[in-house]
Symmetry: C2
Subunit: 447 residues, 2 copies
């Protein structure tokens, strides 16, 4: 379950200062949330705080003349890591921040500093088995998060390059043609054609020919049809790509997920490093009356095969084939946030199960003792940091923050060896013998 508290600080230039509660990562038994902060800040922010240690502050302008840059994604660092460590075989996920010198658009979940979740499989394996697993994982994540209807578009760089070749485009223009085709999900074909002929200098005939192909999408039957295409079937790259695409669809059928997969020839993806299968998951327009205005978030996951990237970092150019996927977690968060805001659903920002409370003065010691017992039993307990808080204030705090139980000790309870356990929602209070309190709390908290 992803839980988000929307306390944004739009004033920070680097990052957005949101507070995110990641369940199950509490350091201790107290319920505490994670807040995250930009990794880079103005130098002056750090000045005058660290005493003699200040000499260790990592200034970025001048590190012995090295030109530094912040990581742009998690794929290139992964490839470099494999090459530097001579690792030829690895499956891993990685959740970390990346940096883009972009114009932030917080409502659309676009920031200068943001988290990505990547999953990659590196190694020489039989064709399309790891690729199919990547798609299976994307399918699973998007289904589990209940983000609404989605579609995973799949294509292959070799098929695209084959199309460009049979349409008479010179190889030197493949990359730029790719970038233009990639715009087809945002603008109509006429505009893309215009850019091809105008800016990119392709002939109108070649552009029209490309247009016949890249507007196609479908499933296995389209793959079969293109394998029979008199021109494409003569192109080695296209044939390889289509053969692998067929294999991929067979595996996806066995995984039972072809219903949400579309072989889409307009998918190109902008990055240089893809060499084979590419894919991108998009959310489909929602028919949810609770959401006032439909959230436009574009793609929420994307990836593909990059068989050449590790070799670029290896001194001897040794290649390690890789396939991977990146989940746009910030975009997914902003969808979930807006949806919760629209539905008025209240989200708890702590996991506290019990508030340890006292009904009158001079009972701080009793609270400290009781909370220790609960913490020792692994119960998430909290108390107000006041010597003599009013009972009403303590109960109000439970209601405000959604704490389900209050364990109340007064003089009478101490004398009787009991604790008054209050159900915050129903306001029913029952005296529980102190030695049975932990068990009773556990019983109450059972789902």
């Amino acid at each position: 379950m992803l839980r988000v508290r929307a306390t944004r600080d739009r004033k920070l230039s680097y990052g957005d200062g949101r507070t995110v509660n990641l369940g199950g990562r509490a350091l201790g038994p107290s319920p505490i949330s994670v807040s995250y902060h930009p990794v880079a800040s103005l130098q002056e922010t750090l000045m005058g705080k660290y005493g003699e240690e200040a000499k260790l502050i990592y200034e970025l302008q001048d590190q012995g003349g090295e030109l530094l840059a912040l990581r742009y994604d998690l794929t290139v660092p992964f490839a470099r890591y494999l090459a530097m460590n001579k690792i030829t075989n690895m499956k891993r996920y990685h959740i970390a921040k990346v940096y883009r010198r972009d114009n932030p658009a917080t409502t659309r979940g676009r920031y200068r500093e943001f988290y990505q979740c990547d999953f990659d499989i590196a190694g020489q394996f039989d064709p399309m088995i790891p690729d199919a697993e990547c798609l299976k994982i994307v399918h699973e994540i998007l289904s589990d998060l209940q983000l609404g209807d989605f579609l995973i578009k799949v294509n292959d760089r070799r098929i695209l390059n084959g199309i460009f070749a049979v349409c008479g485009i010179p190889e030197s223009k493949f990359v730029t043609a790719c970038c233009t085709v990639d715009k087809l999900d945002k603008v109509p074909w006429e505009e893309v054609r215009g850019e091809m002929v105008g800016e990119k200098g392709l002939s109108p005939e070649a552009a029209d020919h490309i247009g016949e192909y890249v507007q196609l999408h479908g499933g296995l039957e389209l793959i079969e049809r293109l394998l029979q295409d008199p021109k494409l079937s003569q192109n080695k790259l296209a044939k390889e790509g289509l053969g692998d695409m067929k294999l991929l669809f067979e595996y996806l059928t066995l995984f039972g997920i072809t219903g949400k997969i579309s072989f889409d020839l307009s998918l190109a993806r902008g990055l240089d490093y893809y060499t084979g299968v590419i894919f991108e998951a998009v959310l489909l327009q929602q028919e949810n009356e609770h959401v006032e205005e439909p959230v436009s978030v574009g793609s929420v996951a994307g990836g593909g095969r990059y068989d050449g990237l590790v070799g670029m970092f290896d001194p001897k150019g040794r290649k390690v084939p890789c396939v991977g996927v990146s989940i746009g977690i910030e975009r997914i968060f902003s969808i979930l946030e807006q949806r919760m805001k629209a539905s008025g659903e209240k989200v708890r920002t702590t996991e506290t199960q019990v508030l340890v409370a006292t009904p009158h003065k001079h009972l701080l010691a009793a609270r400290l003792k009781l909370i220790s017992e609960l913490w020792a039993a692994g119960i998430k307990a909290e108390m107000l940091y006041k010597k003599d808080p009013k009972l009403l204030k303590q109960l109000q705090y439970c209601e405000d923050t959604g704490i389900p139980l209050a364990a109340i000790v007064g003089e009478q309870e101490l004398t009787d060896g009991v604790v008054k356990l209050r159900d915050v929602a129903t306001r029913v209070e029952v005296d529980i013998p102190r030695e049975k309190l932990v068990d009773e709390i556990r019983r109450r908290l059972e789902p």
Copy 2:
């Protein structure tokens, strides 16, 4: 449970490239590990990988003339966050990377880029209640991790300043005297005295007088004694600090943790921003014959009260009192790593519960179908990415990576509607009806 795989890359200048397996954060049902990578790299590393998107790469040398620096700790960013968002009350933890332009010493767990775990309580509360909770959390973490015997030293900046004052040190020299006193955990008093008199220009009498105080350590009885001290008791700051220290020890007694707490007047901590209680946890020399050479790691946690820091970032100087603690997770990791290496304990780097295997050729489809079923049931399953792997190779993989079960499907099993479930350790194989497989696996995996 912290699990560490020691695959270090000592060649990376920025960070150490270790692979760390964080339990329970798998994106999908496949067992995958987290690897982490430096956030900054040479600009050239990122060149030629991103196509037209490359314009968004975050170069650090020149961002419109702003001088940037990487965060040095998580305390200053937290204080800034509170001020910018006008938050007066917050309890949170934060696990993230910080940066020091230091000489890395990987065996001692000291890096240029490393993780810190911070826990802070901000807000105006009754004295020493949040401070006591911070110490309770440190006590709990160090106990739970079973790092061996430890001691949490506690002192108060006000007591130190009071000592300096009654010893005749001018206020302008408090900070520098503090830094010198802080070295007492590494060098003997004679040396510290030498620095005070030589470099810092204190009189020998003042230094000797300071020495009488800062070599003291103890518990409640020492606090009581100092409260009666004819000079200290006349100093307002020292009296306040000692009064709060007494209160702190009362609360720590109720928490039952005073056995590992020492009121230590030599503890000074170098950072400027502390204003009250300060503390530091150190591991005590281990008497463990399995560890060949004792690990020298210094302190593993530290923190204190910083009531002025938020005000430094607030335009109107509004103060928010804060107390917090920082856990030296990298140091703790390096202790755990060395200990495991010394004991020969093998650490699993994946959480895979079942390997889906086939005994002969042409059964990839059967594996893909079966693994889908296990994933759907939430079982952590894996298979080799080969079309026709040899059975021996699959079983060897289980033994190498510690996978406890293998689910084997061959033609015979498919015909009979069963799966052969193999216990990897005992090599016992039993045919399980397919519809009962998930339940049987769950039963076998029960602790």
